[in-house]
């Protein structure tokens, strides 16, 4: 049975109890709990909180319980169980699933059911994760606040008047509020890291090509990447190991061996170099955020890492470059939603062209339309060279900045977002302010690098602050190791709403 959640229940919820992935696996292995119990806990938690938080857009309770029972039986029979061990997992609503709708938060795909499972879904099933349901997002992953979904905004569990960040807001909230220990989001310009930061969880965007995009509904193909959200670095590592690896159905999937990241988590940081870019500590950066980030860097220094200044001179062009590249690709990727083959079709139209324009006009929200128009313009004859081609050139410069910086450092540290979570509605009518919220995260995508967001503090108003670490391509190991070591030395990841 699928329950579509809607906001309404405004009662305050009980204080959080959010066990970490490693603790739950230990309990499962010792027999202290079962997968069924964890799934039931998840479902109870969702029914308590989702009315307010609006993280889940669809739930497969019966399917999840049946799956859990099956895994429990296997475990009890002493048969092998996958690495996700029967843990509840939820995914953003832009990943195709046979059993549940895949709406992308859009009216256009509100009733769309994919006839196939995304690669990551197959991986989760193969590792015995239990898919609980699908998570809210900005429409087609276009946004930084999970406010543009047809299902309404997702709310921040630390303060329901604040946004969860976006576009993977549902994923961050589901983990932060203890609905599920693990979730998948997608990150095109910061859409995993920024909501993770706003909600006080770990969120990681892997190297472009590390995780197959097969079955991820495309926003911007050259930037999109699926990644894990979890309560801590260990959980993120586990989920990332389960979903990454070569997939021949995605031509951009990297055919490289996936290292064993888990075994490297405990290695010392002694002698490693952390780059600090001046460009990341500029006007517009909130003082509380800066303090927490600088404090986190001192934690690394205390652990034996060395701080080295680096320069990323082209990062000031990142936002402009990003919005040209991403919107250009989006304008093309979203052209298929034409009302002909599937998705929303207008009831009234006069001819073929009218069918297209009415269906698309009704099916897409304001932000999606804005980006389609921007991208269409940038790719148009006469403008292509000045916009799209120019953006590709700057993108190369941004990548070269990172290549240079990583010649002298192992990771680059900085804030995830200039501020902690902002109020719902605050930036909804100011797209530029909304876009600038991604200023620190988007160059990671433009350069195809891995990036991670880890909780590193709380504002006076008790809103989480995130630390971002970036590494060279394929060096996820470093990020996970830094994150894990940080969480050995601090307790910010233990803070709960």
């Amino acid at each position: 049975m699928i329950v579509r959640q809607s906001a309404g229940n405004q009662e305050m919820y009980s204080s959080m109890n959010r066990p970490l992935t490693s603790e739950l696996i230990a309990q499962l292995q010792s027999g202290e709990t079962t997968s069924r119990q964890l799934v039931e806990n998840s479902l109870r938690r969702i029914s308590e909180l989702n009315g307010v938080l609006n993280a889940f857009v669809s739930i497969d309770a019966d399917g999840a319980l049946a799956r859990a029972d099956e895994i429990d039986q296997r475990r009890q029979a002493g048969k092998p169980v996958g690495r996700l061990a029967g843990l509840p997992v939820a995914v953003k609503d832009n990943m195709c699933t046979i059993g549940l709708p895949t709406s992308c938060g859009s009216r256009m795909l509100k009733d769309f059911r994919a006839p196939y499972d995304a690669h990551v879904i197959q991986r989760i099933v193969a590792e015995d994760g239990v898919l609980i349901g699908k998570l809210n997002q900005d429409e087609f992953a276009m946004g930084s606040s999970t406010e543009t979904s047809i299902y309404g905004p997702t709310r921040n569990p630390w303060n329901a008047d604040y946004t969860a960040g976006g576009s993977s807001g549902g994923s961050a909230v589901a983990v932060a509020s203890g609905m599920v220990p693990l979730a998948l989001g997608s990150d095109t310009g910061g859409s995993i890291r920024q909501p993770a930061s706003f909600c006080g969880v770990v969120g990681m965007k892997p190297t472009y090509g590390r995780v197959s995009r097969y079955g991820l509904v495309a926003f911007a193909s050259s930037l999109d990447q699926i990644g894990p959200l979890a309560g801590d670095a260990w959980g993120a590592t586990l989920l990332l190991e389960c979903i990454s690896g070569h997939d021949k159905r995605d031509s951009t999937s990297l055919n490289v061996e996936r290292p064993d990241w888990m075994s490297q988590l405990d290695s010392s940081l002694k002698g490693l170099r952390i780059g600090i870019a001046d460009e990341y500590f500029v006007e517009g950066l909130d003082a509380e955020v800066e303090q927490s980030v600088r404090a986190a860097i001192r934690v690394f220094e205390a652990a034996g890492a060395e701080v080295v200044p680096v320069s990323l001179p082209h990062s000031k062009y990142a936002v402009a470059t990003y919005y040209l590249v991403a919107c250009s690709e989006a304008s093309s990727n979203l052209a298929r939603y034409d009302g002909i083959h599937y998705g929303h079709r207008a009831e009234k139209f006069s001819d073929l062209v009218d069918l297209y324009s009415q269906s698309r006009g009704e099916g897409f929200g304001t932000e999606v339309k804005r980006r389609i128009m921007l991208g269409t313009y940038a790719l148009s004859a006469g403008y292509y060279d000045a916009y799209y081609l120019k953006a590709l050139k700057v993108r190369r410069r941004i990548r070269e900045d990172f290549d240079k910086a990583f010649a002298s450092v192992d990771v680059i540290a900085g804030p995830v977002s200039p501020t902690a979570a902002f109020r719902l509605g605050e930036k909804l009518d100011d797209p530029l302010a909304m876009y600038l919220n991604d200023i620190y995260t988007i160059s990671t995508n433009l350069a195809g690098l891995p990036g991670i967001s880890i909780p590193c503090g709380l504002t006076k108003a008790r809103l989480p602050i995130g630390l971002q670490l970036q590494a060279p391509a394929l060096e996820e190991a470093r990020l996970l190791r830094f994150a894990h070591q940080y969480q050995q030395a601090t307790q910010w990841h233990r803070e709960q709403p």
Partner: protein, 502 residues
């Protein structure tokens, strides 16, 4: 002869479906199945959300092979671009194609000139690029205005676009270019070139270069011709268009660039071109590199490997037939025009009998005639290449006469018509049964001559008295006695015996 008033300038764009098992970017079958719409589809060719294309390297290599046969240069680095437009038969609303970096360019195809005395014409090929085919919109043709339907079976079939330079000068040249191109594609086996099933489609760009009195030339606006579903129609459409454009020039004096490029369709019923909606010049396909696909690199070694596996082209075969088999141009043309299957059949016969000319005579005359009469293809023909080769070998070694061979062939045909299985061994059997072997044993012949003369002594005296046909019955008697004897030899020997006995 008066100086012509203008030169016709024609360039052709040909779309050819490549004969691959699976589609260009997914594993679906490419079979032509119009009666089972939307059965050869998957999330990728349906363009469903989240699906991604993966290039079929075999289709790519096949197109490289075609480009090599067209003498093209092969790009070491090429990539895929999205050509964006909305149409119901295009489920992604973009076609994966190649824009500014096609995988091949700068080739040529040699065709015979209109005047056979002139040297062949080398038609330059601008580029050949690979793209995915669209689906098919199926409209209600009853006129009752029912919903149109979309069949996506064809969507994603590899399509090679071959663009010629505007080097063609007459409508018949255009037709010959297409015929030769088709022949080339058939012989190297990359396409079935079936125009009815849409596996070969052609558009023509036509304009005139008007010869001015001062020796300069003025180009008229280029018109793109579409909807031509046969080579004959291409020829007719270009001829019509030439006349129309000349009249138009005399009337308006419009030059190239003064009016937007026009697209005209060919109406085969009315034998005329008609103006189509002029949307082309306003459409902006917003090409950009497809971020879902990697650029394709091809090494020199890979290109050479493909070149080595290139089957013999018709041009090379033509030359071999002339120089090695000694065939006439006429016979070669007749054979090649029948396509690769018949040509291969001919070559087998030729090899088995050891005489290309003999084989060509039989194949171009008897076999083509009987194929036509029976309405079958060479693959369905009961007399196999092995059987005919065996039979012709008997002529070639002078074991039987051509006349006897025809008798054997006719017997084989009538056996086959009665559904009897026939095999090469039947050739020998029939020769023996019918005593068709040429008898070179003069002793046996002389005995038969003596016996014949003894039984009809008056024939000899009649002959000596000048009655030439008096020996006819004698020859018949001798031939009956020694079946397979050469009648000419029997006649000569009989006359010699009669005259010697005088």
């Amino acid at each position: 002869m008066a100086t012509p008033e203008y030169t016709v300038v024609i360039g052709l764009e040909v779309h050819v479906q490549l004969r691959t098992e699976s589609k260009l970017f997914c594993g679906c079958s490419t079979a032509f199945r119009p009666d089972d719409p939307n059965t050869q589809t998957c999330p990728v060719c349906l363009g469903l959300p989240g699906s991604l294309p993966v290039m079929n390297r075999k289709a790519f290599d096949l197109s490289v092979q075609t480009a090599l046969a067209l003498n093209c240069e092969i790009a070491r680095y090429t990539r895929w671009d999205r050509k964006q437009y909305y149409y119901p038969d295009l489920p992604k609303a973009y076609q994966i194609s190649q824009y500014d970096l096609p995988f091949s360019s700068k080739g040529w195809l040699e065709i015979a000139a209109d005047d056979p005395a002139e040297p062949p014409r080398r038609i330059r090929i601008t580029r050949a690029h690979l793209e995915e085919d669209a689906g098919k919109n199926v409209h209600d043709e009853s006129g009752r205005g029912a919903d149109s339907r979309v069949d996506l079976n064809r969507t994603g079939t590899p399509l090679l676009e071959i663009v010629s330079e505007p080097d063609l000068r007459t409508a018949s040249e255009a037709r010959r270019y297409l015929e030769d191109l088709r022949s080339l594609l058939l012989f190297i086996g990359v396409s079935d070139c079936n125009m009815q099933e849409g596996s070969l489609r052609c558009d023509a760009n036509v304009n005139l270069h008007v010869h001015n009195a001062d020796g300069t030339r003025t180009a008229t606006p280029i018109v793109e011709l579409k909807n031509m579903n046969s080579f004959r129609n291409v020829e007719l459409a270009v001829e019509y268009e030439t006349r129309r454009q000349w009249k138009q020039w005399l009337k308006t004096g419009q030059k190239i660039g003064e009016v937007p490029k026009q697209t005209r369709g060919w109406d085969a019923d009315r034998n005329e071109t008609f103006g189509q909606r002029e949307k082309e010049e306003s459409s902006d396909y917003r090409y950009f590199p497809d971020p879902d696909l990697l650029p394709v690199t091809t090494t020199v070694e890979q290109i050479e490997e493909i070149r080595r596996s290139l089957p013999e082209t018709p041009a090379v075969r033509r030359e071999r037939f002339r120089s090695v088999l000694g065939l006439t141009d006429y016979d070669t043309n007749v054979l090649l025009s029948q396509g690769p299957a018949l040509t291969a059949w001919f070559e087998k016969v030729s090899q088995l009998c050891g005489d290309g000319k003999l084989a060509a005579n039989w194949v171009t005359q008897d076999i083509l005639r009987d194929l036509n009469a029976d309405g079958v293809t060479i693959e369905e023909f009961a007399v196999t290449a092995e059987i005919l080769g065996t039979l012709l070998k008997c002529i070639q070694t002078e074991r039987i006469t051509t006349k006897s061979a025809r008798e054997v062939y006719a017997a084989l045909r009538s056996d086959a018509a009665e559904e009897k299985a026939i095999a090469p061994a039947d050739v020998d059997r029939l020769i023996t049964e019918r005593k068709l072997e040429i008898v070179r044993d003069t002793g046996a012949m002389d005995t038969a001559i003596a016996a014949a003369l003894a039984s009809k002594p008056e024939a000899a005296s009649d002959f000596r008295a000048g009655k030439q046909n008096a020996i006819g019955p004698l020859i018949g008697m001798i031939m009956k006695q020694v079946g397979g004897a050469d009648p000419k030899q029997v006649r000569e020997r009989l006359i010699a015996t009669i005259m010697a006995g005088a």
